[in-house]
């Protein structure tokens, strides 16, 4: 295709890499895969959050009260949130490494979204229910799902390695937006059960809420729209928690919406808030408020956590083909962990010993994560047929029996089973 004026291929255009530094900024893909001018503009636009952002802890580590979201912060809370984010980032990085070393077929990094996920996750009570998409490793952590339980999905040994019922953290849902409707239905059930709107008794509340996690890309899906319509129609106690990380693989958020995403809630008739998704304190304060609104019968609520996907969409993706390193550098200055560390240090809430101990704990977690991953066995063939149905199913029982006889026929001949043959 011929170069058109103003295109990246056109010499002399402002987008043509003329220096080694420019080329480096574009990353390894270099000329082969450059962001288009519109992508560059979209990406830079995504660094501007507008005037409606709820922020409590600034990127420089300054804590400011917000009149709409009054929130008590103490040293224990901040140290806990810091620890959560460091540990989650550490095993997330290990996930990337394990994929590169062939131990995982894919990993879905959350780098940059630690605050958005830990803030929301720590706002949940044990009785609340969470419906994740597939990047919510930080929320999983808060729900008590061990990081090693996330590995099976990406190593190919299971589709969900934890008990979604017991943890009240549903299985990862890969079809974009599906879980938003499932969450809405669950929340409708909470309302039908009378699990919202009761006064507290003895300081205890039996009220519950549901939270649905999805991304900016998912907001284009019909299921997200229908979820919001149903939630409004049935006054469902569900928090629609959209992590706007600016990129749906290669498509900037402006491909999904002309208006800021949080403003969509107005059209459905419930409140929406845009929160600094890199500010764990604000995410916690706003989500806690939103869940309480739902528990007390004032749901649904939408939250847009304005954040950034610092890494690729997955380990199979190459962001250098569609966005500039400059943009990543801008967001690096807004890092969710650094601002908490600065605040803890400056306020004398934590000393070097604390930071060192969290670092050591993170390394131990990563080592355990790695060792567990490498030791995960291939499941037995019976697993193919297990739990397809809750009740007996003669057709599958027959298929399983026939396949096991087939496998056994190899053993009778003293040769390897097909699964053991090295190809």
């Amino acid at each position: 295709m011929a170069a058109v004026p103003g295109s990246p291929e056109s010499p002399g255009s402002p987008y043509h890499p003329t220096t080694a530094r420019d080329a480096a900024a574009r990353g390894a893909a270099g000329l082969r895969g450059q962001p288009t001018p519109s992508e560059v503009i979209a990406g830079l636009r995504a660094t501007s959050h507008g005037d409606d952002l709820v922020q409590l802890l600034s990127p420089e580590g300054t804590l400011t009260a917000h009149e709409d979201f009054p929130f008590e912060v103490d040293a224990d809370l901040l140290r806990g949130l810091y620890r959560d984010m460091v540990l989650v980032r550490r095993f997330d990085r290990e996930g990337n490494a394990l994929q590169r070393q062939g131990q995982l077929s894919i990993w879905v990094p959350l780098l940059g979204q630690e605050a958005a996920q830990i803030g929301a996750g720590r706002a949940l009570r044990p009785g609340d229910m969470a419906f994740p998409s597939y990047r919510e490793h930080g929320v999983a952590w808060c729900r008590g799902v061990d990081p090693t339980q996330l590995l099976g999905i990406f190593r190919g040994t299971d589709h969900c390695g934890w008990d979604p019922k017991a943890t009240r953290f549903n299985c990862y849902t890969i079809v974009i937006g599906n879980q938003v409707l499932n969450a809405t239905g669950y929340a409708m059930g909470q309302r039908f059960d009378g699990a919202i709107g009761s006064p507290e008794a003895d300081g205890e509340s039996r009220n519950e809420a549901t939270i649905a996690f999805f991304g900016d890309g998912a907001t284009s899906q019909g299921d997200v729209h229908e979820g919001m319509v149903f939630a409004a129609a049935f006054d469902a106690p569900v928090v629609f928690y959209c992590q706007n990380n600016q990129w749906a693989i290669s498509e900037p958020v402006e491909k999904q919406s002309r208006v800021p995403l949080w403003q969509r809630s107005t059209g459905y008739g419930f409140p929406g808030v845009r929160v600094d998704g890199n500010d764990v304190v604000a995410c916690l304060a706003v989500t806690r408020w939103a869940l309480e609104e739902c528990r007390s019968g004032n749901g649904p609520v939408m939250i847009e956590a304005f954040t950034y996907r610092m890494d690729a969409h997955t380990t199979s993706d190459d962001p250098t083909r569609y966005r500039l390193a400059d943009e990543e550098q801008h967001w690096k200055l807004l890092d969710p962990i650094e601002r908490v560390k600065v605040h803890l240090s400056r306020q004398g809430m934590a000393d070097q010993e604390f930071f060192d101990s969290v670092g050591a704990e993170a390394d131990e977690l990563a080592a355990r994560f790695r060792a567990h991953c490498i030791a995960m066995p291939k499941p037995p063939p019976e697993r193919i047929f297990a739990n397809v149905y809750s009740e007996p199913h003669h057709q599958l029982e027959q298929q399983q029996a026939q396949y096991l006889v087939y496998l056994a026929s190899f053993e009778d001949q003293g040769s390897a089973t097909p699964g053991q043959v090295t190809r």
Binding site: V175, L181, N182, G185, G189, F192, V388, P392
Partner: protein
């Protein structure tokens, strides 16, 4: 119609003939009476009672928390039903017409069918999706389709089709009590045809295991096929709306001295081929009838499996009477499209000619 919210249908046993639609209504009412977790949801199922009146009177008696008039969105109906089932409800979701199921198809395939498997059994999915199906009512496009094969192809779903008032009642009760998702096809062309409904005859003999391992009673035979009429010369098999055609064919054949064995599949997934294979081993000839397009269909699967399992019993190839591999035609042409008495008798003649 007002049976009262608290009256059990068994206590008011009614042996008079009822329409198939009424039998379904009574079945829903009985299930809702018995288990407060059973809820009905769909478009126009409340005040209107559904466009076919299958849910008539239920909202009045059970309230709008148990009979939900939903926004007009099929993915929303199925997707929220999934969440309600996770919450412990037993939703019965109505899809208004066969051709309208496709906006909800993604949720059925991606979630309903896979939630139990994905969660390694942590979630069960006791959800019934009722779909009026099939043609012959002179309707506009999307109101006369037979999409059952799509669902039979998906592991994790159970698919059934009723053809009589008695089955409508019993099979829907069984489907609602099943912990697996059941796609329940209703022969809309036969909704107003009356049949005997003997509530005393639905002896609760079968048992299934509950989550806790305890045995639970359930009506028999939701997931099995039945021989409707014994015969010796040719086996004819179908389900749903085509069953009366098979009976008419058996009558016509009998007048010519030929004996047809008529089998109602009832369960489309899993297929219960035992009675079909037993019959074919006796007759050696099999004709399979369905309104659905022929390609990659239930009729195709039956032909393949009978060939695999009863090859030496066959005296003729398995023959099929099915819809053409076209979109459903304008209704003035549907008589040409649908299986009818002549097409079935023609196939019987061809099977016997071998």
């Amino acid at each position: 119609m007002n049976d009262g919210a608290v009256s059990s249908p068994r206590s008011g046993a009614d042996s008079k003939p009822v329409t198939l639609a009424k039998a379904l209504n009574m079945s829903l009412r009985a299930a809702m009476d018995e288990d407060p977790k059973v809820i009905v949801m769909g478009e126009d199922v409340g005040k209107l009672g559904g466009v076919f009146r299958v849910t008539d009177g239920l909202q009045k008696d059970f309230g709008d928390h148990r009979v939900l008039d939903t926004p007009l969105a099929e993915s929303g109906i199925i997707g929220t039903a999934v969440g309600l089932a996770m919450r412990g409800y037993r939703p019965v979701a109505e899809i208004q017409f066969d051709g309208f199921v496709f906006p909800g198809f993604d949720q059925i395939i991606s979630q309903v069918a896979k939630v139990t498997y994905r969660s390694q059994g942590a979630w069960s999915m006791p959800l019934v999706i009722r779909i009026p199906f099939g043609g012959g009512i002179g309707a506009v496009e999307h109101h006369a389709e037979a999409p059952e094969s799509f669902f039979c192809h998906i592991g994790g779903l159970r698919v059934v089709a009723c053809s009589t008032a008695q089955d409508a009642y019993d099979m829907l009760r069984a489907a609602i009590s099943c912990d697996d998702p059941v796609v329940f096809f209703e022969p809309k062309r036969r909704y107003w045809e009356k049949g005997a409904l003997d509530l005393g005859a639905t002896a609760l003999t079968d048992t299934a295991l509950t989550d806790t391992g305890a045995e639970r009673e359930r009506p028999p035979g939701c997931f099995s096929s039945v021989v409707r009429r014994p015969g010796t010369d040719v086996t004819v098999v179908s389900y749903g709306s085509s069953m009366p055609i098979l009976h008419a064919a058996a009558d016509a054949a009998a007048a010519e001295g030929r004996s047809l064995e008529v089998i109602d599949l009832r369960s489309l997934s899993p297929l219960d081929l035992g009675p079909v294979l037993d019959s074919v081993r006796k007759t050696g000839r099999l004709v399979v009838v369905s309104e659905a397009p022929r390609e990659s269909s239930i009729t195709a699967d039956i032909a393949a499996r009978v060939t695999e399992e009863a090859f030496y019993s066959l005296a003729a190839p398995v023959l099929r009477v099915a819809g053409f591999d076209t979109p459903y035609p304008p209704s003035r042409l549907e008589e040409d499209y649908l299986p009818d008495l002549d097409k079935v008798l023609d196939a019987v003649d061809r099977a016997l000619a071998f």
